[in-house]
């Protein structure tokens, strides 16, 4: 598969920072892969997204060493705070989403087609004529993701993209990612929402103080992290267990809501978990 971005021994330090935000990171994200970047706050996940999309050090400043190759012709990035990503110049959601393709100088018909498609994919077509400044946080978050998609990026970096979404909206967003990846987009996902991310990720990168401490199949990692907890609680495999399975084990008499799922299908079995650790 085509590598959308590859890093070999990349280290990155912000200007004036005492220690490196990324240290000796090597990874490769190919078309169709969803790489979930996990780690404690400050571990360097957001920085990794900035480096992978070429924004650091070009705009962020700092020093980058090592080999970085960005194969993606177009990159998109979405941050956790959607209101900071608005142009502030567009009076409708349609124009906001169309901003990226319009900047590329594409013909107006193509711009509008890409815009309509992105709004449809994110379920914001009904907001097309609304002023972005008057949307709720959740609506706005979907709009900024649509704006990133309208660019038709080959590499999409999502930094906690569901921070403003309600659980239903977050589920819908994560459920959409595999189809986007299947269309050839490489997705780099950093979020504290491990449960949802693990369901869709094909590849897991765990960072600790800027260094990669695990890279490989998310199922394997979950077996070692969440799985350890589940095992300690006496839950049967597969890991990670789903919530009803946990409830059934911990509180079997919880008003009938919980049920024994000892032979239930594996939860969180996202698409394609076959990405090899690099």
């Amino acid at each position: 598969m085509t590598a959308r971005v590859s890093l070999a021994g990349v280290s990155f330090s912000y200007a004036g920072a005492g220690r490196a935000a990324l240290s000796g990171v090597s990874l490769e994200i190919a078309a169709g892969e969803i790489a979930f970047v996990s780690g404690a706050s400050g571990a360097g996940a957001s920085t990794l997204l900035l480096v992978a999309t070429g924004l650091a050090p070009r705009l962020v400043g700092g020093t980058l060493t090592g080999q970085r190759t960005i194969g993606a012709r177009r990159c998109g990035i979405v941050f956790a705070r959607p209101w900071t990503q608005l142009t502030g110049l567009c009076s409708t959601v349609r124009d906001e989403v169309a901003f990226g393709p319009a900047c590329a100088g594409r013909p107006i018909a193509e711009v509008m087609a890409a815009t309509a498609r992105a709004m449809e994919q994110l379920g914001v077509a009904h907001l097309a004529d609304r002023d972005p400044a008057h949307l709720s946080g959740g609506e706005l978050q979907r709009v900024v993701v649509a704006a990133a998609l309208a660019l038709e990026p080959e590499l999409l970096a999502l930094d906690d993209p569901a921070a403003e979404l309600d659980p239903v909206g977050a589920d819908a967003l994560y459920a959409f990612l595999p189809s986007l990846a299947a269309a050839g987009t490489a997705i780099l996902l950093a979020t504290p929402d491990e449960e949802r991310a693990a369901r869709v990720a094909t590849h897991l990168i765990v960072l600790e103080r800027g260094a990669v401490v695990f890279a490989g199949n998310p199922a394997g990692a979950m077996d070692t992290r969440v799985g350890a907890i589940a095992r300690a609680a006496g839950c049967p495999p597969p890991y990670p267990p789903d919530v009803p399975a946990l409830l059934a084990r911990i509180a079997p008499d919880a008003g009938g809501r919980a049920h024994d799922t000892s032979d239930a299908p594996p939860a969180g079995s996202g698409p394609g978990t076959g990405a090899a650790a690099r």
Partner: protein, 253 residues
């Protein structure tokens, strides 16, 4: 009130270049006028412009508030301390040429402020961006101008939110002048630091979306421009040139 106000007046519907040209013409003409009567005709023209845009009350009030300190300063400097023939108003002895000078300078400031407040209130930043994009103006310049037009309303909105939050945490806004000055800290710091932090992310998001690209951006919905409006803009240019020609001709005479 400073910033765009939704509306359907002729100025709102006009091409943004026309509205800005009107404000620009008031600015340039103000410096060509040297007599109190002509300067105050220009103030009147500014008021007519504001009334046409349906924003006379708000623009005139803001213009008055903004130019009042300048009026006081001009009155003291030229009216009270100025030289030449003097006349009395109650206990005050005023300079005749000084008062005339203050009226000219103050009138200029008022006309310019009124003209630009009207342009700000009736020019949609979005339509301005589209108009400039259609003319092939690089996005960097477009963004700079449009951001300047929108920065005050955005800062005001942000300040309102911060004030509400700080009041919830016990900040008292009333009381003595000293107390009010002390209350500025909890408002100003989050206002400035928050704005700077968000600008960082906005720059990244805009860059990824191609805002810094060198190519020509596609205009999505450029506002229509008419022959009549183009003629009006050229006419304004001719009028301003004529006003300066008149000024220099009189100076030589």
């Amino acid at each position: 009130m400073i910033g765009y106000v939704e509306g359907r007046s002729p100025l709102h519907r006009a091409h943004p270049y026309t509205t800005l040209s009107l404000a620009g013409a008031v600015l340039l003409a103000a410096f060509a006028m040297t007599e109190p009567a002509t300067v105050w005709l220009l103030v009147l023209a500014g008021a007519v412009l504001a009334a046409t845009g349906g924003v006379l009350r708000s623009s005139a009030r803001t213009a008055l508030i903004l130019s009042l300190p300048i009026w006081v300063l001009l009155f003291v400097l030229h009216g009270l301390l100025g030289g030449g023939a003097r006349f009395s108003v109650g206990p005050l002895s005023l300079s005749g040429p000084g008062v005339a000078r203050a009226l000219v300078l103050g009138g200029r400031v008022t006309a310019i402020v009124l003209g630009f407040l009207t342009a700000l209130a009736t020019t949609s930043p979005h339509r301005l961006v589209e108009a400039m994009t259609a003319r092939g103006v690089p996005f960097g310049r477009t963004f700079l101008l449009a951001s300047t037009l929108t920065v005050l309303p955005r800062m005001r909105e942000r300040a309102t939110h911060i004030l509400e939050a700080q009041q919830c945490r016990g900040l008292r806004l009333g009381g003595s002048v000293a107390a009010r000055v002390r209350a500025l800290g909890p408002l100003a710091l989050p206002l400035i630091l928050g704005a700077l932090a968000e600008v960082d992310e906005q720059v990244l998001a805009l860059d990824v979306r191609g805002a810094a690209g060198a190519g020509r951006r596609t205009a999505l919905d450029p506002p229509p421009d008419t022959g009549g409006q183009r003629t009006l803009r050229w006419g304004l240019l001719v009028l301003v040139a004529a006003a300066y020609a008149w000024k220099f001709w009189r100076m030589r005479g």
